[in-house]
Point group: C2
Chain length 346, copies 2
């Protein structure tokens, strides 16, 4: 079992848990049944979970259930959750990276609590000043890594440099054959644009010959994120979260408007019959479930947060992300990126 | 002529000027020919402009041409432009609010130069700490005002309060029958979320009984901008610019993907015939030209910046915006909003 990728699943987090979580596991197992190089440590109410695993036909060789009594609710604050959470599925799924053989942990539960207890249990890598939350973002050329998405509201230039290094490591873990190309998110391409912190980060990233594990593309404006010329987009957590939610809102507004227009008349409804396959491809390309999963980077073990409201398909994609992260050797890539650089950092 | 709305046009700014600028004027005149309550002071190379006005059939009663020798280029920095610009169409179109009878100025030229010389010529209103750039943003319920879009990279809580007051005045000028509802752009709804500056602005706006010229809706997350529950969205210039450009990029990515999908197969191309009217309505609703025009607020006279790359239709919409701003008595609304509040501000 030691050569397998072991994923710890918090089966009780998110809407419609544990059904969607177990169905997500089942989708992953069916898709990868021939690989047999993965294993699930599943945390939650054993009685329900074992029934669901049988119902969805997941073979026993792929999992072990760890019975836990509590579930962290969405309303809980990090403070109260720490007191109550030691018997929770979330706590134990993360802790299994320390006390058991899990390589990575996945939860669709309360984000605030997950971030706090992940830091408590796994601890921050010594060379990293602040851990960050990274996400996947569609582009014309594939998928970008974007970070920080909200873990750190205020950041200095060294945090932004750490994010560049960790984001590049994640990109390389997911796409070993490609070059990581970092863009600093800013309101203009010119070097005089932006806040003092961004300018300092730009100067350090540009001039410092040590930073050689990725290409530095300079500033990137948010309207160019999806062009794909840069594939690692770096910002402080406030800016990253603003960009993420603006993109979500805009995408929803446009696709809602399109649906409304196409349902407006008999003729346009009729036309959908002809464009059905094209529209399905369009919908599929932009399906947010395919980009489900934010990765908490900078701790001694990786933690993935699935969207709470996603369904079993979305949860499947975040399991697949966990698998690829470990397969791509993320943790060693982060250490390699961070180490030599910080040796000379001040 | 004194009871007419007098709009100063920099005819030489932006791509394809002065043709698109004059064509924009002609579109406006044709649409509003019966009102006769407007007049254009047009600045630029008289010889070309007078020919274009005749070509596009604009009656002489609607305009006066002011011959200017220079044009501010897109590459010019504010510093060099100030030296060279006193004979430019841009400088004179703004200055005509001081030395002539113009009520508002419109340019599609160099944004940086426009902001700097507007401040120089028109001066900031005493009670306003920093002027701001406001834009229009589509929502499910109509159009939002969003500011600051990039004039001020760093803002304190008092700037955000000024923006709330000026943005509300603009919203009321454009929609006299509606209530301005201010939302502070933030990464969460809860009061504990966000930067210290945003929290201070929230506390002041919430508690202070003096702020009564608009409803304060508290924080708004960027994915809710287009819901329309708040119609005046307030942020510092960095955050506002990030949000604006993210929305632009996302919209472009989605509509490009849709186009690509619909052009993919013969059947889907064929289907466009049936959904043509619906898709046209969809396209029309989201047409960025309809939201063309950023308003520079907080100076003693209003200045509107048209997108440089827009066409005559986009330029027409920014002329229409100028007309509605003066018709809606923006300047007095700003003074009314700002005055009583600042009396007790510290």
């Amino acid at each position: 079992m030691s050569d397998k990728i072991v994923i710890a699943i918090d089966a009780m987090g998110g809407e419609n848990s544990p059904e969607k979580n177990i169905e997500g596991i089942s989708l992953f197992v069916k898709k990868n049944i021939n690989l047999k190089d993965f294993f699930f440590n599943i945390f939650g109410k054993e009685e329900i979970i074992s029934k669901l695993l049988i119902k969805h036909g997941v073979p026993k060789e792929f999992y072990k259930i760890f019975n836990t009594l509590n579930t962290v609710s969405d309303e809980e604050t990090p403070l109260s959750a720490i007191k109550n959470s030691k018997n929770s599925s979330m706590w134990n799924s993360i802790n299994s990276q320390v006390v058991d053989n899990s390589h990575i942990s996945l939860s669709a539960g309360n984000t605030g609590v997950l971030l706090v207890i992940s830091r408590m249990i796994l601890k921050t890598i010594e060379e990293v000043r602040k851990p960050a939350l990274a996400g996947l973002w569609p582009s014309k050329r594939g998928v970008n890594v974007v970070l920080d998405l909200g873990a750190n509201i205020e950041c200095d230039e060294n945090n932004l440099i750490d994010f560049s290094e960790m984001g590049s490591a994640l990109y390389k873990a997911l796409h070993p054959e490609e070059t990581a190309k970092v863009g600093l998110l800013n309101i203009g391409k010119e070097e005089i644009k932006g806040t003092e912190i961004i300018k300092k980060a730009h100067a350090k990233l540009k001039d410092d010959e040590k930073y050689k594990d990725f290409d530095f593309n300079g500033y990137i404006e948010p309207n160019k994120i999806m062009d794909g010329d840069s594939n690692v987009i770096v910002a402080d957590g406030f800016t990253g979260n603003i960009a993420l939610k603006t993109a979500e809102g805009t995408a929803k507004f446009i696709t809602d408007s399109l649906k409304e227009s196409l349902n407006e008349s008999f003729l346009s409804k009729f036309s959908i019959l002809f464009s059905y396959i094209s529209l399905k491809k369009f919908k599929n390309k932009l399906d947010p479930r395919k980009y489900n999963g934010a990765i908490f980077l900078g701790l001694k073990g990786p933690v993935v947060k699935s969207h709470g409201a996603t369904d079993s398909t979305g949860f499947y994609y975040s399991i697949d992300l966990c698998y690829r992260i470990i397969k791509g050797d993320l943790m060693n890539k982060i250490k390699k990126n961070i180490k030599p650089v910080n040796a000379n950092k001040n």
